[in-house]
Amino acid sequence: METLVDVDAVSRSFPLDHREVLALDYASLRVERGEFLAIAGPSGSGKSTLLNLIGCIDMPTSGRVVLDGRDTQTLKTERLAALRREKIGFVFQTFNLIPVFTAAENVEFPLLIQGVDAHERRMRVLAALESVGLASRAHHRPDLLSGGERQRVAVARAIVHRPELVLADEPTANLDTQNATQLIDLMHDLNRSLGLTFIFSTHDQRLLEHTPRIVRLCDGRVVEDAQAAEADRAQVAAAIH
């Protein structure tokens, strides 16, 4: 297996009322290419901070994050933007779709900023929407879609440019059980069929039950990195399908 993400002794603190709050405390994590990994923990444990650092939208106070062989701290703003554009797909808790764009246009956006030509964009948008089962809703704006559909559009947007890594921050937090289960199944299917690496933060037990590897955080520290045994993995796979 090849290492895609290497979080090495990372700390991140924030100033708050004239003092420093430590959100991540010397956390380390290594993620192989093609993994399906959950970062779990209670609110305030540092899940989102860790995802932000892996997603190159925040920088550690100390330690380093290496993504696809590149130390993110050595990259300038524009190079970091290019890295995110090419290597990472994001799924947000509140979907964060552009409200004036249709579902298809939202999915098209990452290709647009990569400069992919119009014909190629059309093909890939259609394929991405089909893969999340929303081809028929392509021309609907987000306000005409249900919460589950919006999050599936967000997933299509995250995978359309074929990134190495998809980061999802609490992707099921705003979904009901049925939609949450469908989303988990979808993400897992994409992980298996496309070989995409998924890292998501959650404290949703439904999602954790379907996850082969769970990294638990507490007070900014990695307290457990549970890799399911081979037999458990089979159980997980059976549970998913």
């Binding site: 997603g55 925040d58 524009e78 933007a81 552009i98 246009e105 990452p110 900023i113």
Partner: protein
């Protein structure tokens, strides 16, 4: 690029009420500039044409000495062989006619009262053919007398101060080309109202032969050239200039704008007023737009954060906000052009009149000209104002911290 502009276009209409208010403000600015500028253009065009048709003409030909020194004797810097010059001038393109003129001054007397005059002598048939007829408040123009009397037109101010009317006689006294004093009796055939009190108080017009007899010379002061349209002045001047080189006297050609001092002063004043209005509209649009665009930016912080997280280059965010502002400017300009032109047409149809401007005696029509140059300039002004207004909010948006922007509520 197309999708990017589509995003900008849709964002413009995201909050329709706010966009409508912005369009009203921007469109109002454009419409206001069109109405004021169109009215100024009408006044200036009216002043230009009245200046030209009150006798200035489009071009004037002088002896070059006329501008180099003062005359020692009457008309010693005049044009001697003016008939040949006039014939050569008449054959040029756009020339409707060439009118010889003698400018002179002296005293008027009716035996009881005397007054100083500033006189001009003309060929009335040529003047009429060129559309240079004076505005008569009483009587008729020169040239209709068959009984051999010397005819004269006088200004309303002269008639009032000397208590004379059409049909009365006057004696004109002037210094001849030899320096002697000469006089002729004239009959008043018309009273002229030029619209300018200072002119009307000294106005006298007689026929060219009468003046040449009075002044004892066959020279003329200048030749006034009338064209088919004022817009052809530069073209005609360029053609006529070289033609004036083959005469024994050195001749010089002056365009009407070089001689119309009052017109230039008025125009400078109007340009200043209009510039001031333009600056006010610019700052009005700028300040109001900065506020609106900042509000728009704060409403979209999370969306911008999302775009930046996905790797959108920061310059794209700047360009997006500027494109939105530019589109708003274009739409506002279109709305303003429509409103300004419709309002202008309605005002023109209403037949409004304004009181006489200072120094004139005529009521003035209220009309708004639809000037393409003014429309383009007003539109560009608001588009540029909005584009400038968007720079600061756009840069702020592009520099948002992604994590903070994503957490924005």
């Amino acid at each position: 690029m197309g999708k990017f502009l589509l995003l900008a276009f849709r964002n413009v209409f995201r909050n329709r009420r706010r966009t409508s208010m912005t369009l009203v403000m921007v469109g109002g600015g454009v419409a206001g500039l069109l109405l004021v500028g169109g009215f100024f253009a009408y006044m200036l065009r009216g002043l230009r044409e009245s200046t030209i048709h009150n006798g200035l003409g489009h071009l004037q030909i002088f002896n070059a000495e006329h501008f180099r020194r003062d005359e020692v004797h009457v008309l010693d810097t005049g044009i001697g062989n003016w008939q040949q010059v006039a014939a050569k001038t008449r054959s040029a393109d756009h020339v409707r006619g060439v009118a010889p003129r003698v400018e002179f001054y002296g005293m008027l007397s009716n035996g009881v009262k005397s007054a100083v005059f500033m006189g001009s002598a003309v060929d009335p048939d040529i003047e009429r053919s060129m559309g240079f007829s004076p505005y008569l408040s009483a009587g008729r123009d020169l040239g209709g007398n068959a009984n051999g009397e010397v005819e004269a037109l006088i200004g309303t101010g002269v008639a009032r101060s000397m208590s004379v009317k059409v049909g009365d006689g006057l004696t004109i006294l002037a210094v001849t080309a030899d320096g002697a004093l000469n006089g002729i009796d004239v009959q008043i055939v018309g009273i002229v109202n030029t619209g300018y009190k200072e002119v009307d108080d000294r106005y006298l017009r007689i026929t060219l032969p009468s003046a040449q007899r009075l002044l004892q010379t066959d020279r003329v002061t200048n030749l006034v050239v009338g064209l088919d349209a004022t817009e052809n002045t530069d073209r005609a001047a360029a053609e006529l200039g070289p033609r004036l080189g083959g005469f024994s006297q050195e001749l010089t050609l002056k365009k009407w704008i070089e001689l119309a001092t009052y017109y230039k002063q008025v125009r400078t004043m109007f340009d200043g007023i209009f510039l001031f209005l333009g600056v006010i509209v610019f700052f009005m649009v700028l300040m109001a737009s900065i506020n609106t665009i900042l509000i728009t930016m704060f409403e979209r912080v999370r969306e911008i954060g999302t775009m930046l997280a996905m790797g959108t280059p920061r310059r794209w965010v700047v360009a997006l906000f500027m494109a939105e502002a530019g589109l708003t400017g274009v739409l506002g300009a279109v709305a303003g052009l429509a409103a300004g032109n419709v309002l202008g047409a309605l005002l023109n149809a209403s037949g409004l009149h304004l009181p006489p401007p200072p120094g004139t005696t005529f009521d003035m029509n209220f009309r708004v000209l639809h000037e393409p140059g003014l429309m383009i300039a007003s539109s560009l002004l608001v588009i540029v104002s909005l584009a400038i207004a968007s720079i600061w909010p756009a840069i702020r948006a592009s520099r948002l911290q992604i994590v903070e922007a994503l957490a924005h509520v």
